[in-house]
């Protein structure tokens, strides 16, 4: 047991947490700026700091719940169903998240379709390229001879 090593790790964890809190604070500031413009009202700095702190703390609850939902489903990967379960407390929130999840699923399908088209087009090009190469090789041979 090295107390020095442990203290170092504690310090690093603290720095990491502080960096994340700063990132959250920046994003919260941007979002509050948008709301302020929409409503024509100002937010005091303490308010933004408070919302930032509340959000960060709420993330802890979210993370623990998500992990437990996934474990309950005997999985190690958290998926969209777990997030939807997290949003169950308010009907309108649940509707919003479900709608976003369906949009994502649609986008995933679109991407798969595009990838399929690309790869089949690429295969078509490749076979025609091979034919061209074979033809060139034959003509070279005849030239050399």
């Amino acid at each position: 047991m090295e107390p020095e090593g442990e203290r170092e790790r504690e310090r690093e964890r603290l720095l990491h947490t502080q960096r994340l809190k700063a990132a959250v604070h920046y994003t919260v500031g941007c979002l509050c700026q948008e709301v302020a413009e929409d409503k024509g009202i100002q937010f005091s700095k303490q308010t933004i700091a408070a919302i930032s702190e509340i959000t960060f703390r709420q993330c802890e609850n979210f993370a623990k719940d998500l992990e437990m939902f996934a474990r309950h489903g005997k999985r190690t990967v958290i998926n969209s169903e777990d997030v939807k379960l997290l949003a169950r407390r308010s009907n309108s929130l649940l509707r919003y998240i479900t709608q976003k999840s369906e949009e994502l699923a649609l986008n995933n399908l679109e991407q798969k379709e595009r990838k399929k088209k690309k790869s089949s087009a690429a295969k078509g090009r490749r076979t025609s390229d091979e034919q061209v190469e074979a033809a060139m090789a034959e003509s070279e041979d005849s030239n050399m001879a």
């Binding site: 409503k39 993370a63 958290i78 919003y96 995933n108």
Partner: protein, 122 residues
């Protein structure tokens, strides 16, 4: 009062809560149209400001008990959206509270008044 009929009314002075979250989409539509496709959600998150996937991922991993736990890409995007909604709700409810008190500046006390219902709704 509240987001849905079954939430009970509280006696906070002049509290006017938001009724549904589609107003967040309405607010977004006032801004320039975002690019289409899968990347629509991620790029929209950058241009219209909001939480980024990597940030959300790191924050969640900070609080996981098991090291093997991972988050799918879709779930990360959904969580980023959820956090966006959370922050916007907190800001909008605080703003409504301040406006109900005839003030043009949202202070910490307004957020304190709306905090209990906000946490219950999430």
């Amino acid at each position: 009062m509240g987001l849905s009929p079954e939430t009970p009314a509280t006696h906070v002075r002049g509290r006017v809560p938001l009724r549904d979250y589609s107003s967040h989409d309405a607010a977004r539509s006032r801004r320039p149209a975002p690019p289409r496709g899968r990347r629509r959600m991620e790029k929209r998150a950058e241009s219209a400001s909001g939480f980024r996937k990597e940030t959300v991922n790191k924050i969640l991993h900070l609080h996981f008990k098991d090291d093997k736990t991972r988050v799918s890409s879709d779930a990360l995007l959904l969580m980023a959206e959820m956090l966006n909604v959370f922050v916007r709700e907190a800001a909008a409810r605080g703003a409504r509270q301040a406006q109900a008190e005839d003030l043009d500046r949202v202070d910490i006390e307004h957020v304190e008044k709306v905090l209990p219902q906000l946490l219950l709704d999430f």
